[in-house]
């Protein structure tokens, strides 16, 4: 049985570098798309919440003005 160390051929080293490089690139891309999606959705949710708050405030303001005008009508 030979005890000589197995030397990896340079060709396999290059193939390995390509495979590892591609694997890391694809992994990084998946993480980047996840991050982008999270940021975009968070920003969209914040905008929607802001719009809802504005709508609620506008509705509350119109309600109070309707109430005050009807109260004024009763007193007449």
């Amino acid at each position: 049985m030979s005890t000589a160390p197995r030397v990896e051929h340079e060709l396999h080293q290059r193939r390995r570098s390509r495979n590892v490089g591609l694997g890391i690139t694809l992994g990084a891309f998946v993480l980047l798309v996840m991050g982008m999606t999270y940021v975009k959705l968070t920003a969209q949710n914040a905008m929607m919440a802001e719009e809802r708050a504005k709508e609620q405030a506008a509705a509350a303001a119109s309600d109070s003005s309707t109430q005050s005008s009807s109260t004024a009508g009763e007193s007449d």
């Binding site: 080293q13 290059r14 390509r18 490089g21 991050g35 975009k40």
Partner: protein, 313 residues
């Protein structure tokens, strides 16, 4: 006799990951990344750091893809020019077909991803940049006119405009000025290189100004473009991306650049050959500092503005 043959030959030219990366012209890509980042950060609209990172990455990939397509189309002249003989195609590591597929895939990928990460204006500008560099410059102008560098330089000047569009979704005077600085800087930068890399372009049959109009005319063109560049670079100091710090730096940088162009114009070939093109090489090296410094000082103004110091207000 045996009919069994053993193939002991190994394809020693198989490409590594680094060879594919080299197709993207990493040195050019670093300029694209830097100027696009400055355009993005100098804009008055803030962008989320992750989206800014993604946008600059996709701009860089788009720029790199156009570099790969340039290498695919120019493989024949890259084999002749000493400066480009070690590129992956002339070195026999990647085939022309592979390079074409790689460049096309990354171009489409970069444009689509930039549209998703930012907006359609930025993505449209990136698509136009790739088209301009590959079709207008590489396929059409480069081998046809000695003004190839002038018009082709536009492709390298778009990244700060794209960066600005990522943040604002549009185009403005400031982004056009950043484009114009790089656009007007490109001809003197490359013509200085052409003066001391003379044999390469002639051997490849590329109609560089030095080959078609001679060295005296090239020297005159360098000073003309440097004179035209100075008011644009200095004038940027009076816009919203400029300020006293940028203006002071621009005045000094343009004075030095003009002095270099003047020195080149006054020399003849005998003087240049006597000192191995020392002045031309110095001008070329300074041209890199010149462009880098202008964009750095735009960033400095932006940074100072955060403390109420930058700009004219």
């Amino acid at each position: 006799m045996s009919d069994i043959s053993t193939n002991t030959q190994v394809d020693t030219s198989e490409a590594s990951f680094g060879d594919y990366f080299a197709l993207l012209k990493p040195r050019v890509m670093s300029l694209v990344v830097f100027t696009a980042l400055v355009g993005l950060l100098a804009a008055p609209v803030p962008v989320h750091p992750l989206l800014a990172f993604a946008a600059v990455l996709f701009i860089a990939i788009g720029g790199g893809a156009s570099g790969a397509l340039n290498m695919w189309y120019d493989a024949d002249i890259d084999r002749i020019m000493r400066r480009t003989q070690s590129r992956p195609i002339p070195a026999g590591k990647i085939t022309e077909k592979e390079t074409f597929a790689f460049g096309m895939f990354l171009s489409v990928f970069a444009v689509v991803m930039l549209a998703l990460a930012s907006n359609l204006v930025a993505a449209g500008l990136l698509a136009f940049t790739i088209f301009f560099y590959v079709v207008v410059y590489t396929m059409w102008l480069k081998r046809w006119t000695p003004q190839n560098i002038v018009i082709g330089g536009a492709a390298g000047a778009f990244p700060p405009m794209i960066g600005w569009a990522v943040a604002t979704g549009g185009i403005s005077v400031e982004s056009v000025l950043m484009f114009t600085i790089t656009f007007m800087w490109t001809p003197p930068h490359f013509w200085a290189l052409a003066l001391f890399m003379k044999s390469d372009y002639r051997d490849a049959g590329v109609p560089m100004l030095t080959v078609t109009h001679g060295r005296k005319a090239t020297r005159a063109h360098i000073i003309i473009y440097t004179i035209l560049l100075a008011p644009i670079a200095i004038g940027t100091g009076f816009t919203s991306i400029g300020g006293p710090v940028y203006l002071t730096a621009a005045l000094v940088l343009n004075a030095v650049f003009l002095k270099g162009a003047w020195d080149i114009w006054r020399r003849d070939e005998a003087q240049a050959e006597a000192d191995s093109y020392k002045t031309e090489k110095k001008f070329f090296a300074f041209s890199l500092v010149y462009l880098f410094a202008h964009f750095v000082f735009i960033l400095v103004e932006k940074g100072l503005a955060a403390y109420g110091l930058g700009g004219w207000s």
